[in-house]
């Protein structure tokens, strides 16, 4: 969904339209691919980003160790949802960890990387050199968006994979007890965990778009990061006010925790679809804002 929403803008961009033949189209695709690979190397080669991922990886480890040590004590089973089920099935460590990281840690890491995307290059001065290379601005924005999405995906996957490994090592896998009490096979449970991971990744796409937009407004990456993290926090606050129920459906974070749907016997895909539709809308709106800003702004950094 999200990348496709903004991808279309590349094809209608006036700069790319002139003298189009198959060769130049092919060359442009190749050029985007080259830049994307370079961008991914930049994002995943940067020590700060790796530290962020390592920090996220620690969460399932800590929860796993705590649960392992305290499983025979009086406090066993207290804590976030799914926690009491971890000892019976390591898969639930993935759920508990994602549940714990989704309110703040995950949005924070996503905000850091997406807020830095354009503003960081602007502050370093590298943006002007990329643009005169030349990288068309729409392509630049798309590649930055793809880099931000890739990092968001990597962040969620890090939690999931580490949770899976630690959970499996400490507690093993078995039949999965759903919210209703029904039991499904381990394979089914794995699939459901995969669905949760995918849903959470897609839930962060709106935030990536928001971060990218703020990143086009400033040459100060920290300002863009801070502005970005404010959005899900405010969204959560608004979502907690019943008086504002009329706007709840459109809030960035309102459907984030709907991933629990995967733990029902019959997954209600329309609920999940709503959550994804809200993200698509945020991506469309903030992607467009970022595009219109970035393709017209003077680069004076």
């Amino acid at each position: 969904m999200s990348p496709a929403d903004t991808l279309t803008t590349d094809r209608v961009s006036p700069a790319a339209g002139r003298g189009d033949d198959d060769a130049s189209t092919a060359q442009r695709r190749g050029a985007t691919g080259r830049l994307l690979r370079s961008e991914l190397r930049l994002v995943f080669g940067r020590r700060r980003n790796l530290v962020l991922l390592a920090g996220l990886a620690l969460i399932p480890v800590i929860i796993g160790v705590v649960v392992l040590i305290t499983q025979d004590t009086a406090v066993a089973g207290q804590g976030p949802p799914f926690l009491q089920k971890i000892t019976s099935n390591g898969l639930f460590l993935v759920l508990t960890s994602i549940f714990s990281c989704l309110p703040l840690l995950l949005p924070l890491t996503v905000a850091i990387v997406s807020g830095d995307a354009i503003a960081g290059e602007a502050q370093a001065g590298t943006l002007r050199y990329l643009l005169v290379t030349p990288v068309p601005r729409t392509r630049m924005l798309l590649v930055k968006a793809a880099g931000g999405l890739a990092f968001a995906a990597a962040a969620v996957l890090t939690i999931a994979v580490v949770g899976l490994v630690v959970g499996g090592l400490f507690f093993g896998f078995g039949e999965v007890t759903l919210l209703s009490g029904d039991q499904v096979s381990t394979a089914d449970g794995m699939l459901r965990t995969l669905g949760i991971t995918a849903y959470v990744i897609l839930s962060l796409t709106g935030l990536v778009a928001v971060g990218l937009f703020f990143s086009t407004l400033t040459e100060v990456p920290v300002a863009a990061m801070a502005a970005t993290i404010v959005v899900p926090v405010v969204s959560t606050v608004l979502g907690a006010l019943p008086q504002l129920s009329a706007i709840h459906g459109g809030l960035l974070t309102f459907h984030w925790f709907d991933f629990g749907e995967f733990m029902r016997l019959d997954v209600d895909y329309s609920t999940l679809g709503q959550g994804l539709a809200v993200q698509a809308a945020w991506v469309a709106i903030f992607g467009t804002l970022a595009w219109s800003r970035f393709t017209t702004a003077d680069v004076t950094s």
Binding site: T126, R128, V299
Partner: protein, 355 residues
């Protein structure tokens, strides 16, 4: 430094020889040559041309006020002006980074920024100092820029990067992280990036900033070498001496206006070449008469010398007329204004930033 009020005497060695004494060592032949690979699209013979290029910032400040730059193909164009005179904003407009509020610019015959995709690969640029990712090595930074250029060949990347690094003497530092580079090395890496592939046009904004005298010399050599190979070069600087020697053309910016532009020789010629006649004390009066008779305005007498602005009068006519009039001619010198004196006269002196 001290520049006399008239500013005329700064020429290091006043020459008695007439017109041909302009330090135009390498200038004339070069301007005539067209660029190397540029023969393909020559809708105009100018590598850079702007028409009423204007930038008014949202604050209302006019950074560039309707300038008409013309850089002939093959020229080395010294783009001079004090800090804050609008050089960098102009360069940003040339490269499509900043949109003009009025007028437009053409690079290599094509309108910017519409033609960015086809023109900019042929243009190497250094804009307001080098800028790279601090935690990446010099080589990795160049690799990233080359990957960003969709028109180069991946297969030749390593060779081109090696060649460019070697050319700038960075071979040994290639794998060091950029943040460990000295200012001079950073500047070199910026030039290496501009030379990652053959270019028809180089736009170098303050290329010698932060370089020691030796480095400055090397950059001059590099510019000369590139120009000899047919590349058009626009070099901006607020320091005259460092680029004066390599330029075939000069443009001087002051407070957003292009106050002077033209071939290197004519730029200084247009500004009051003076003739200094040395004679015996008794003949000072008649010397003044002769000079006035030739149409030179307001000769000044100081000691045994009589000084007057030469105007269009060839110096040899002055000497002949003096001898004919029986004036003791002990010496005749033609003082051409240095570029520096012209620059100072046009842009004002002092350290005050223009705005």
């Amino acid at each position: 430094m001290t520049v006399p009020a008239t500013g005329e005497t700064a020429t290091p060695a006043p020459t008695t020889a007439p017109a041909a004494s302009v330090p135009a060592s390498a200038a004339p032949g070069r301007t005539a040559e067209p660029g190397p690979a540029s023969a393909t699209s020559t809708s105009t013979d100018a590598a850079i041309r702007t028409h009423g290029l204007t930038k008014r910032f949202r604050s209302g400040q006019v950074a560039v006020a309707g300038i008409d730059i013309e850089v002939p193909r093959g020229a080395v164009y010294g783009f001079l002006g004090p800090n804050g005179s609008g050089k960098t904003t102009t360069i940003r407009m040339l490269l499509g980074l900043v949109g003009p509020t009025d007028g437009y610019a053409e690079l290599l015959g094509e309108r910017m920024p519409d033609a960015s995709a086809s023109v900019l690969p042929r243009v190497g640029a250094l804009v307001e100092g080098p800028a790279f990712h601090p935690y990446l090595s010099g080589r990795a930074n160049l690799e990233r820029l080359d990957a960003a250029d969709g028109t180069t060949r991946r297969s030749t990347r390593t060779a081109r990067i090696d060649a460019s690094l070697a050319r700038l003497g960075l071979g040994a530092a290639a794998s060091k992280p950029y943040r460990q580079y000295s200012l001079g090395m950073k500047q070199r890496l910026g030039l290496a990036a501009a030379l990652l592939r053959p270019r028809d046009l180089l736009i170098l904004d303050e290329p010698t900033n932060g370089l020691d005298p030796q480095g400055t010399r090397e950059v001059r050599h590099l510019v000369r070498e590139l120009a000899d190979a047919g590349t058009t070069v626009l070099v901006s600087s607020h320091l005259l001496t460092e680029i004066e020697q390599v330029c075939t053309h000069i443009g001087i910016m002051s407070k957003g206006h292009l106050v002077l532009q033209g071939p290197r020789e004519t730029v200084t010629e247009a500004h009051e070449t003076v003739v200094v006649v040395t004679t015996s004390p008794d003949h000072r009066g008649s010397a003044v008469e002769v000079l006035t008779g030739l149409g030179l305005t307001a000769p000044e007498v100081a000691g045994t010398t009589v000084t007057a602005a030469l105007g269009d009068v060839p110096p040899e006519r002055v000497s002949v007329a003096l001898v004919h009039a029986g004036v003791d001619l002990l010496g005749l010198e033609v003082h051409r204004p240095s570029l520096e004196s012209v620059f100072v006269r046009l842009t004002g002196e002092g350290f005050d930033v223009a705005r």
